[in-house]
């Protein structure tokens, strides 16, 4: 395996990891505040559709991005209403959102575009193009570092850089600001936060809204960055892999980055090589596809350090009994 091949696989890893990373961080904010969210998949799907639809109608990918975020926020709002205000079961609400998004996107798409649940292909300004970072062309000939910079770091769409910058930002917000401290506290012991005179409901809604925005970016990246349009069910389970990555990362931003990159790498390798031979042993591609889930189960079983979810996760907060 030469340097170029490795770079191409890593390049593919970055592209595949980006939607996972955004969705994973979205889940991180929500779950740190005590709201379990298995509706990541549905929110991404809705965002993917509305971003592609609006981008194709207006011809502007930025309008598309805003529409995607708005659609995802609306679903987040529904989830918040059901699980925070009405104290419903968070898992059921999340499942409902997944079903709602899967059905609604195709229905609306068919009504608007009559192309069988798809949007028209996006052209020109309707897509996020890859951006070439400064000096990428000039540095290209520098041995080793040049190709790494040109192939791997430069040339992605802007949302990829946004996703990677969101990691330190999330860390800073969660662990270095007052808002972050309160947000984490509300996921561990909401009664204490309430005693301190801070609104549990408000904090949880804020967390769910952040989750909506990030899922919106993830969905828009799928439909307008990686692809040129929406196809039904195009998230293809990425929301669930993001959840697995979140558990694998033990609800921490930096670990979320590593686990998403790891899962992205597994996918990229599986796509590049159908079967991998390791010293006479052939690893089938199906095993690579299943590996993220296997790793998550291993982590959950406590083999590699225990993953402990936020203590108040999944519990609606009742002020007084």
């Amino acid at each position: 395996m030469d340097l170029m091949t490795i770079l191409q696989v890593l390049d593919s890893t970055v592209r595949l990891a980006t939607p996972l990373l955004l969705a994973c961080l979205a889940g991180l904010f929500s779950e740190r505040a005590g709201i379990f969210d298995i509706g990541l998949e549905g929110k991404m799907l809705a965002a993917a559709f509305f971003s592609a639809a609006v981008a194709s109608l207006t011809g502007s990918v930025w309008m598309g991005l805003l529409a995607g975020m708005a659609a995802s926020l609306v679903l987040s709002g529904i989830h918040g209403l059901a699980s925070i205000t009405f104290r419903g079961n968070q898992l059921i609400s999340g499942v409902a959102i997944n079903f709602l998004a899967a059905g609604m996107t195709v229905l609306v798409a068919q009504d608007w575009f009559s192309q069988g649940g798809r949007t028209p292909s996006l052209m020109g300004g309707g897509r996020f193009e890859g951006i070439t970072l400064p000096l990428a062309e000039t540095l290209r000939d520098v041995p080793v570092l040049g190709p790494i910079y040109y192939e791997l770091i430069s040339g992605h769409s802007i949302l990829v850089y946004v996703a990677f910058l969101t990691v330190p930002l999330s860390w800073w917000i969660l662990f270095r600001t007052r808002f972050g401290l309160r947000l984490r506290a509300v996921g561990e012991n909401p009664a204490a936060v309430d005693t301190a005179g801070v609104s549990v409901i408000g904090l949880r809604f804020a967390a769910v809204a952040i989750c909506g925005v990030l899922c919106g970016i993830a969905g828009a990246y799928l439909a307008t960055g990686l692809q040129a349009g929406f196809v039904k069910d195009m998230t293809a389970g990425r929301g669930y892999i993001a959840l697995a990555a979140l558990i694998f990362a033990k609800w921490r931003p930096w670990y979320a980055l590593y686990s998403c990159l790891l899962f992205g790498l597994l996918q990229a390798v599986a796509l590049r090589y159908q079967n991998i031979e390791l010293g006479g042993l052939v690893i089938p591609v199906q095993f690579m596809d299943a590996l993220p889930y296997i790793l998550t189960v291993v982590i959950l079983a406590g083999f590699v350090g225990k993953a402990i979810p936020p203590r108040a996760g999944g519990e609606p907060y009742v002020k007084e009994r």
Binding site: S12, G116, A228, K232, D233
Partner: protein, 329 residues
């Protein structure tokens, strides 16, 4: 209130009559969805052509999950729809169970053989069409490396791949064919993101023509091929128009003709196995304004010559499904 009741009663009577009056044919689409721009869409086109020509109507359903197969079949059969046409190999097992329960209803299944007295099994010689587009791909390729991207890893898709490889090797025995399958679950038919990544990976390995036999995933393959400036080959329906000047040709599988024929025959549908191949126009490759400049005289001549030889039986393309093996890699 009485007036309302009358209205309701007559409305109910009207619906009942509409259901029972004539044996409407029914069409069941597989999980890829009615507008997959490919296989199911071709079936829909055939049914629509029949409806437009005869002025009659047909019932249809798009499946949302595996569990609906039997339910949809039985529902149409109970409803008196006849014949019932379904697209996709995945109906095989279910139809085998359901068909004996409705001996008076005729069924037509595409892409699968079901042995029952009231079933017509339409199978296509996809390997022949894939052979033809494989030849054209090899002639269009400058790098000597071409790619194949399949959807779900099933024998049927391997049959496409195997025919394609044989066609490529017939033109250029030294050519390399990179083969990838998208996945092993039905989700593999609808994952354009993976399709794109596979295409990029094949391009980086030198491929300059890719053939996608992957349903909705193929949309991503064709898109990426067009973005990266290489050629692609569409499948099932004519997909040349999706990216004018970037899609070399499409392997045509005339599912529309199969559905049209079945609906035209109506309740007199002839049962048994019906093989559609190059010889009887069931399989071919697409030529239109969108790809006219991409296809040289030489390529067309070679493909047409091979098609004639296949029709006459002079040339046999190996069918992967006959022995689950492919003689060339």
């Amino acid at each position: 209130m009485t007036l309302m009741q009358k209205f309701l009663a007559s409305a109910a009577a009207a619906t009942l009559c509409a259901g029972a009056a004539v044996a409407e044919p029914a069409l069941i689409f597989d999980l890829g969805g009615k507008f997959d721009k490919s296989f199911n869409e071709a079936a829909f086109a055939g049914a629509k052509r029949w409806a437009d020509e005869t002025g009659e109507t047909f019932r249809e359903i798009e499946l949302q999950s595996e569990a609906q197969r039997e339910q949809a079949l039985r529902r149409f059969a109970e409803n008196g729809n006849n014949p019932i046409v379904m697209t996709g190999f995945a109906f095989g097992n279910v139809l085998g169970e359901v068909a004996p329960d409705y001996p008076d209803t005729k069924f037509a299944i595409i892409d699968m053989v079901v042995d029952a007295p009231n079933v017509r099994s339409v199978v296509f010689n996809e390997h022949e069409g894939s052979y033809l587009v494989g030849m054209m791909a090899a002639m269009a390729s400058e790098s000597g490396t071409v790619g194949f991207i399949g959807g779900m890893d099933i024998p049927l898709i391997r049959k496409f791949a195997c025919g394609y490889v044989q066609g490529v090797k017939a033109v250029n025995p030294d050519a390399t064919v990179i083969q990838n399958m998208t996945g092993t679950t039905p989700a593999a038919w609808n994952d354009p993101v993976k399709g794109s990544e596979l295409t990029k990976s094949q391009i980086s390995q030198g491929a300059d023509v890719v053939y996608a036999a992957a349903g909705g995933t193929g949309v991503g393959v064709l898109q990426t091929a067009a973005d990266e400036g290489i050629l692609s080959v569409g499948v099932d329906s004519n997909q040349n128009y999706l990216h004018p000047g970037k899609v070399l040709t499409s392997m045509l599988k005339r599912v529309d003709n199969a559905v049209y024929d079945a609906m035209t025959a109506g309740t007199d549908l002839e049962t048994g196995i019906n093989v559609m191949g190059v010889a009887n126009g069931g399989i071919g490759y697409a030529m239109d304004d969108y790809n006219a400049e991409l296809i040289s005289e030489e390529m067309k001549a070679a493909a047409d010559e091979a098609a004639a030889k296949i029709s006459s039986g002079e040339l046999t393309v190996h069918d992967y499904m006959s022995d689950n093996a492919c003689p060339v890699e």
